[in-house]
């Protein structure tokens, strides 16, 4: 797919023929499938995860259609359970986790640090193939009948009771995990070893800090989910006694191991988004970021603290109340670095020169929705409240505020911001603004009612529900259709822009990162001459007195 698109689009424009860049350096399927260029791999990922996003979106559409009525009349319960399971698995493992790191990260990490490629280009290509293989297996599981365990795979249901395609799906997720590990490993080594001259740690763009923190989680957490999923598979296949109480196991052990990865995994999903927002806010207010070291360290703090809080998913799971207490207080702590980021972004706007270009609109959306998502996260970390709202739509709403309201907003913002760099062309600003507005409205209409539903007590993963919840559910479904339209519009104008968009020039936004100091699209080796860095976010000259003291 991607081959063809770029194949046909990059050729006919005369001004692009004059210069060789990564898109026109070679044509044909092989030049894409065997590429080790991080920029091309980023585009391979972009095409793949867009397909998965569409697939997960279709599941979401059917779920929301079903929930228009309380009586479960559109699909069977088995089907409904498979739908929400597959929605979760596809969106989390095959869209959200790779989304920013594997596309924008892959494209930008080497460029932002002034390197010619990632440290291990072949490993990078391998990670895409692994992703495709894992994705194909999981997709096969969908085609042959699906899986109904919920994306959480709780034992003993998944290991002994479910009679759907657990093994196939689990194998797909297991394999995909290695793609994530390889990406993270590649980023860590690249950031350590391949920075341009003068690019010290505290001159790095915050996007890089965020990706470094994300990579830490990928490398340290993913192996645990891999082995845990593998054990579920072994227990199912060979009756190995590890989780199922009937075999002497403890089902809570599964939950501990699962959430040890899967809670930090939400930071894999949101941290790169935060990195994008830091870039957008600075560029479109033409100011250096407020409190650079605090934002940088808060990324690391989130990555580390994020590993200490997983038990807040198990407050009412039969976990010891004392362990619950420890996990609760630690969960409160992880809220702080997120708050610090939000305050610093807001402060960056102060006395800036703020423009309302599309990426900035997404950044505004992110800050607002992430604030709501983050604050409701504190509700969930509070033991007394969580007893009531755990496993209800309150959790669903909170999660989607962070993931859709936060992460996808940032992803869209980032895509709009770097699209001119990636393709060398501008999209239609008017349509883009309209789409951003539609997405914002649709999103809130979809998910805000779910907070209310949650506190009213509607449990998640419910096919049938009491009639008194119908009004709010209909509102949510209406919002979802608006949201769906909102996501379709960019797909159209992005593709349109690849052929008909205005040439962007090297730096259409007047941004200061290294990636903007090279032509768009960049040459294969990224830079025509090796860049040297003297300071980060140098939006305006300043004197020594401006610098922070101490």
């Amino acid at each position: 797919m991607p081959t063809k698109i770029f194949h046909t689009t990059s050729r006919p424009q005369p001004e692009q023929m004059t210069r060789e860049h990564y898109l026109n350096v070679d044509y044909g399927i092989k030049s894409w499938l065997l590429t080790t260029d991080h920029k091309r791999i980023a585009l391979l990922y972009l095409a793949t995860i867009t397909a998965f996003f569409a697939l997960g979106g279709i599941f979401a559409v059917v779920i929301r259609l079903e929930l228009m009525t309380p009586s479960g009349d559109l699909v069977q319960s088995e089907t409904y359970n498979k739908l929400f399971t597959m929605h979760g698995i596809v969106m989390i493992f095959f869209f959200l986790i790779p989304s920013i790191p594997a596309t924008l990260g892959n494209f930008l990490v080497p460029m932002m640090i002034g390197a010619r490629d990632l440290a291990f280009p072949r490993l990078n290509l391998a990670s895409w193939y692994i992703f495709v293989i894992g994705g194909s297996l999981t997709f096969t599981a969908v085609v042959v009948g699906g899986v109904d365990t919920g994306w959480t795979f709780y034992t003993p249901y998944s290991s002994s009771y479910a009679n759907t395609h657990v093994i196939l799906t689990a194998t797909g997720i297991f394999i995909t995990g290695f793609s994530s590990i390889l990406t993270g490993l590649n980023f860590i080594i690249t950031i350590h070893k391949m920075r341009a001259p003068g690019l010290r740690w505290f001159r790095l763009p915050l996007f890089i800090w965020a990706h470094y923190a994300t990579s830490l989680i990928m490398v340290l957490g993913t192996p645990v989910i891999a082995i845990t999923i593998a054990m579920v598979g072994l227990e199912r296949l060979f009756r190995v006694g590890i989780f199922d109480p009937a075999l002497g196991g403890d089902p809570l052990l599964f939950q501990h191991l699962f959430w040890f990865y899967s809670h930090p995994a939400v930071y894999i999903m949101i941290l790169p988004g935060m990195g994008v927002i830091s870039e957008l806010v600075t560029c479109f207010s033409r100011k250096r970021i407020y409190g650079y070291p605090f934002i940088a360290f808060s990324s690391l703090a989130i990555a580390v603290l994020g590993f200490l809080v997983w038990g807040h998913h198990m407050f009412v799971a039969g976990q010891s109340v004392y362990a619950a207490m420890i996990f609760s207080v630690l969960s409160m702590l992880v809220a702080i670095p997120s708050a610090v980021k939000v305050f610093n972004w807001t402060a960056t706007l102060y006395k800036g020169s703020i423009s309302y270009d599309t990426p900035m609109l997404y950044a505004f959306g992110f800050i607002g929705l992430f604030t709501i998502g983050g604050l409701t996260g504190v509700f969930l970390a509070t033991l007394g409240i969580d007893v009531h709202v755990h496993d209800t739509y309150f959790v669903v709403a909170h999660f989607h505020y962070i993931m859709v309201g936060g992460m996808i907003m940032a992803y869209m913002g980032g895509l709009h911001f770097w699209w001119p760099k990636i393709t060398g062309r501008m999209y239609s600003e008017g349509w883009a603004k309209l789409a951003a507005l539609i997405i914002f409205v649709g999103f809130n209409l979809t998910f805000f009612p779910q907070f209310l539903l949650g506190y009213l007590g509607m449990p998640r993963r419910y096919h049938f529900y009491p009639e008194e919840f119908q009004v709010l559910n209909v509102m949510s479904s209406a919002g979802a259709s608006v949201l769906g339209v909102g996501y379709l519009i960019p797909m159209i104008y992005f593709i349109w822009s690849m052929r008909y968009g205005k040439p962007a020039g090297p730096n259409p936004w007047g941004a200061k990162g290294l990636e903007w100091q090279t032509p768009s699209p960049p040459p294969t080796d990224n830079f025509t001459k090796p860049p040297v860095v003297e300071e980060a976010y140098a939006y305006a000259p300043h004197t020594q007195e401006d610098r922070p003291r101490g």
């Binding site: 092989k30 590990i181 080594i189 070893k193 192996p223 054990m231 006694g241 002497g248 052990l253």
Partner: protein, 226 residues
């Protein structure tokens, strides 16, 4: 495919140094990146075995008697011999890396072959142990020996025994595959004083597998022996 733009970094003139990839500035940078990459990979391996070890700690704490009873079914002699075999293989591996550092081709190949032999010996013994377990009806999922009131706990122990040693043996098999490739490449003169990164990285991997066993041996074979 047009690849002319590759390998045109500032160090293209250093012909002797085997292949500094286009995106690295120096062979030194490339080697450091590779070694650090291997260490990062080993960290993921620690965490992967770590998931299993966590399960082990939980159940060892929950079922102390069952784990002791289960441990008595394992053969200390075979386990001990295997421990020594792996330690010896670590020594030969270290010597192989040393030979590579010094650019001694034949010594490198000799030590690699020793390492492979010791690895195969380990796997052979492991196979003997597995077949004993099969005959004693101590395999999860098959009809299981009656251990009286401890049957279920022994079942959990044996499950962990098989998963832990199985994953370890799987790593051994991959390691032996890597070493075989190194031997062939080394014999053909593929490594030199300047370029031996694959030997070094495989060495790190091999030692890691040894370390896992250093923990498995006391944790599986030596419980409640007094």
């Amino acid at each position: 495919m047009r690849l002319t733009h590759r390998r045109t970094g500032p160090v293209a003139e250093q012909k002797n140094i085997a292949a500094v990839a286009h995106h690295f500035d120096t062979a030194e940078q490339q080697r450091e990146a590779s070694t650090l990459g291997m260490w990062a990979f080993l960290v993921t391996e620690i965490m992967m075995f770590g998931g299993l070890f966590t399960g082990y700690v939980v159940y060892r704490n929950l079922y102390p008697d069952g784990f002791a009873a289960g441990s008595h079914h394992l053969d200390i002699t075979l386990g001990g011999i295997n421990t020594m075999a792996l330690i010896a293989s670590s020594l030969t591996m270290a010597m192989a890396v040393r030979a590579a550092q010094l650019g001694k081709r034949k010594t490198l190949v000799l030590f690699l072959l020793c390492t492979i032999a010791l690895g195969l010996f380990f796997l052979g013994i492991k196979a003997v142990e597995y077949s004993h377990k099969y005959h004693e009806q101590l395999v999860p999922g098959l009809p299981f020996a009656d251990e009286g009131t401890l049957t279920q706990q022994v079942y959990v122990f044996i499950s962990f025994y098989f998963v832990l040693t199985g994953l370890h043996a799987f790593h051994m098999v991959i390691g032996i595959g890597l070493l075989t490739w190194l031997t062939v490449k080394g014999w053909r003169g593929g490594f030199s004083k300047e370029y031996f990164t694959p030997v070094e990285l495989s060495g790190l991997y091999w030692h890691f597998v040894d370390i896992v066993w250093i923990f498995l041996y006391p944790l599986l074979y030596l419980i409640g022996r007094h």
